[in-house]
Each structure stands twice: as C-alpha cells, then as structure tokens.
Symmetry: C2
Subunit: 246 residues, 2 copies
DNA sequence: GCTAGTTTCAAACAAGCGTTTGATTGACTT
DNA sequence: AAGTCAATCAAACGCTTGTTTGAAACTAGC
C-alpha cells in the first residue's frame, strides 16, 4: 500500500492543472470524501474505518478514494492537512501579531496560550459540522504510534512548536530550555487529551446541559490551569523531595 | 464476535478450578499470550494487531486466544486488567495511607498527585519488560473511542477517580466541585499524554541519553507543573478577560 | 460531431481477518 | 489399564480488507 502511494496514476498528475477551476456551487467528489472520512476516522479511528464505509457515506464509488488520493493513508493525511495546516498558520500569525503589538516586550503565558488555542477554537466553531469532530480526530492522531502518522504530524508541527517554544522561553526567562520544552509538552498533552476525549463533552453536558457554545467554557477552565503550571517554581534537580516515600 | 464472548466454551468454565494449581517454573500459554498481546497492542493499537501476529509472537496456536479468552476484545480487556486493577488498588491504598498518616488534615496537592503517580511508576519499573510498554498502551486506550474500551475503562476507573476527586476537593476547598472535576481531568490528560506519547521518551533521550531510570525524572518535571495548575486562581465566570481579542 | 482526456463505475483481485471445528495429545483419576 | 477432561493443533470457515482493472460516462476543444 505504501508503494502504490508514490506512483500516482497519470490521470492524477495531469488533473492537477484542471483542479484550479473549482465548482463551489456543488460539492465535488473529493470534498465529499474528505468530509465523510473526517467524521468516520474521528468516530472509529484510522484502522477501524474501511474505505467502503467512507465511500458509502460520501455517496461516491469505492475506487474514487484511490483515484483522487492514491491510498487510504494519503487520504488520512489529506484529512488532517486540510484543517491542520491553516490552523497552525493562524497560530503563528497570531503569535507574531501579539509580539509586534507588545513592541518587543516578552508576552505573558496566557497570551501565548491564547495564541495556541484561539485558532483551535475558531476551527472548532467555524466549520459547520466538521469542527469539533476534527479536533477529536487530531487528539487521537497524537496518541497513534503508526509511523506514517507520527512522521506526518512531526513535520506538520515542527515549525509551530519551535516558534512557541521560543515564545515561552522568552516569557519564562528563569527556566532552562529543557524545562520549557517539558512544560510545553505537558500543555500540549492536557490540550489534546481534553479536545480528543469524550469525557470533556460529557462533563460539559453534565454541568451545563444548556450550553451550546461550550468551547469558550472549556478554554476558560483550561487556560488558568496551564498558565499556573507554566509559571510553577522548578523542582530541585537532585533531591527526591516529595515522592520518595512509597 | 460479541455474541460468542458471552457463551464461553464448556472447557473454559470447568477449567477455572484447575487454574488454581499454577506452574510458576514455566510460563504458561495464557501468560505468554498476555505478554505478547500487551507489547503488540501497544505498538500497533487494537485494530491493527491481528491474532495471528500475537499467537506467532507468543509461540502458541492461533486458536489458543479464543480458547483461553473467548475473543480478541476480551483478550484486550484482560491485558488491561492484569496491570490496571492492581495499580488502581495501590493508588487508593496509598491515598488512604497518606490520609490516615496526616490524621484527618487535608493533604497537599503534591501528596495526592504522588498517590496517583507512584503506583504508575512502580508499575513501569517493576515488571521486567512490560512496564513502560503497558503505560503507553494505557495512554492509547484513553484516546480510543471504541465503545467496549471506553466502557471498560470507565468501570475500571470509576472508584479511583471518585476517591481522588474527593481528596482534591478537600485539598482545594476554595474551588467549587465542578472546577475540581475539570482540573482532575486536565491532570489525567497531561499524565496520559506524557505516558503514552513517544515524544516524552524522545525528549529524555535527547537531553539525558545516559539516563536509564528516567521515570523519576519525568515525574519530577510533571508534578510541580500539575500542582501549580491545580492551585491556580479561578477565572471569573462571565468576562472574556484574556482571550476575547482574536 | 468527433476526439482526447478526466472522472465514474461495477466487478474482481489476492490477502488477511476473527472465529470455529474436530481430531489429537497428555496428564490425571478410578 | 481404561476413562475423563483440559489443552493444543492444523485446517478450514465465511467475510472484509485495500487496491486494481477495464469499460462506460462525461466534458471539454477543434
């Protein structure tokens, strides 16, 4: 399956030029596949979602996936790229905007966190139906050890992570670089777990069944928690201070 | 597949009595299956791991899984239960020990966190080879939306979560119950993401390639972060204070 | 209105899946 | 020594998987 993906059909190559003339009035096959795949991948995961399930839901022929995307793996990457790429672009643009607005002064942790999360929220809200589904799909992909997924995400995130690590480093000058990396890692963990898990949605439904626009509510809980964690005093390097007695 | 699982073979039922007379000198078929399944489920996930792969790695017959466990799903649950049940038991016992040692006084957040994490670390260290693999498997299971996994984990964790939520509530009396639930949720998120992801291992290898016993290092980074987050001041309920401008 | 090229389609492909079967083994009881 | 029963085994079951094929349908350009 991996071999065929690097040898796309001749039709696919010559079709690329034609692709520029889109027809926005009617949703084309490629988009219908992406929409259906996004929802089903989110619901069942990559392995458990069959192409027959996707193509049936999208009302397209089974062969359309391999024709338009080359393989199931490439379809999965296309599903992620479609929304992930603009989101990370937004994140970096927002961070830059904050930095220039501040006139060179170091940003607060809350400000940096908001630059990470606001584009994610915008994504979750704007798109008619795929939004929050996509974030859950993304959270799942984080935890997936499949090599092609990890490599893809690593490439997709590298630039953004580097930018935000530098920003956090400037906001927390008393922390060494390694500590900053760790705390950024924990931030990403709490975020992806919260966005991916079904538990967060259940909790919202439990406490605020009337809330529709619950993403802000979620962020309002999460941001102070993370900002306080980022500003925590560092632990001494050598002593087993508080978890020694088991 | 789900039907056959509730109708185990007659052999399996009558075998239960015989099971008491174990043979610890040689690893039996059931344990070999569990060990191989744990490692392969961790590496490829539930769906992508075939029974043929497991039974080949365990050097047992293909039919042995269905004979001893009933189905692939029941095998997965058995893999989780084998280590998860004792770990959660340990967590609650440790929390009780801390509480009685403190003589009724409210515990600190660090103390409660340590009661959650020390059993996890013990699990990662003690078992010869399966330890850290299992924690990664567990982290994956957290993010899996498969109903049988979510239901299983929910039941497995319900008692422990309730105990720790109560403990955190006592440690943070100024927080309302809902806020405590959220922050416990974030704590679990950062933990499971850190334990499950390959990134944490990569970071340890990058900064401390000589470290073998790297679990303490990880906890020493994570615990101050989480404790500070738990103690963070609450956000005002109504105002969009810091993330309004996008 | 024919032709060239893109897209769709039904059908089939080989391979792998979880599970079941029925025979065989081997250790124990009576 | 015969009988019992848990355990193992090779083989097959029916089914689904991702992918490929070649013809049909469609959409332009000349």
């Amino acid at each position: 399956m991996a071999l065929s993906s690097v040898i796309p059909s001749i039709a696919r190559l010559s079709k690329a030029a034609e692709q520029a003339t889109e027809k926005p009035n009617e949703v084309d096959t490629k988009s219908r596949i992406l929409d259906a795949a996004e929802e089903l991948f989110m619901e069942h995961g990559f392995e458990a979602t069959s192409l027959r399930l996707i193509t049936t839901a999208a009302n397209v022929n089974l062969a359309a996936v391999n024709y338009h995307f080359g393989s199931k793996e490439e379809l999965f990457q296309a599903v992620l790229t479609r929304r992930l790429d603009p989101m990370n672009q937004d994140r970096m643009a927002l961070l830059t905007a904050y930095e220039t607005a501040g006139g060179g002064a170091a940003l607060t942790c809350e400000k940096i966190i908001s630059a990470m999360f606001i584009p994610a929220l915008k994504l979750a809200r704007n798109h008619d139906q795929g939004g929050k589904n996509f974030l859950r799909l993304l959270g799942r992909a984080y935890a997936d050890p499949a090599p092609f997924i990890r490599e893809f995400l690593s490439n997709q995130y590298a630039e953004m992570i580097a930018r935000f690590r530098a920003a956090f480093g400037r906001a927390l000058p008393h922390l060494e670089r390694e500590e900053v990396s760790w705390r950024l890692h924990f931030v990403m963990g709490a975020l992806s777990y919260t966005l991916a898990g079904t538990d967060a949605l259940k909790m919202i439904a439990q406490f605020h069944p009337e809330e529709i626009n619950n993403d802000e509510l979620l962020l309002k809980r999460l941001a102070p928690f993370l900002a306080a964690g980022l500003r925590a005093p560092v632990q001494a390097t050598d002593g087993h201070q508080w978890f020694q007695e088991a």
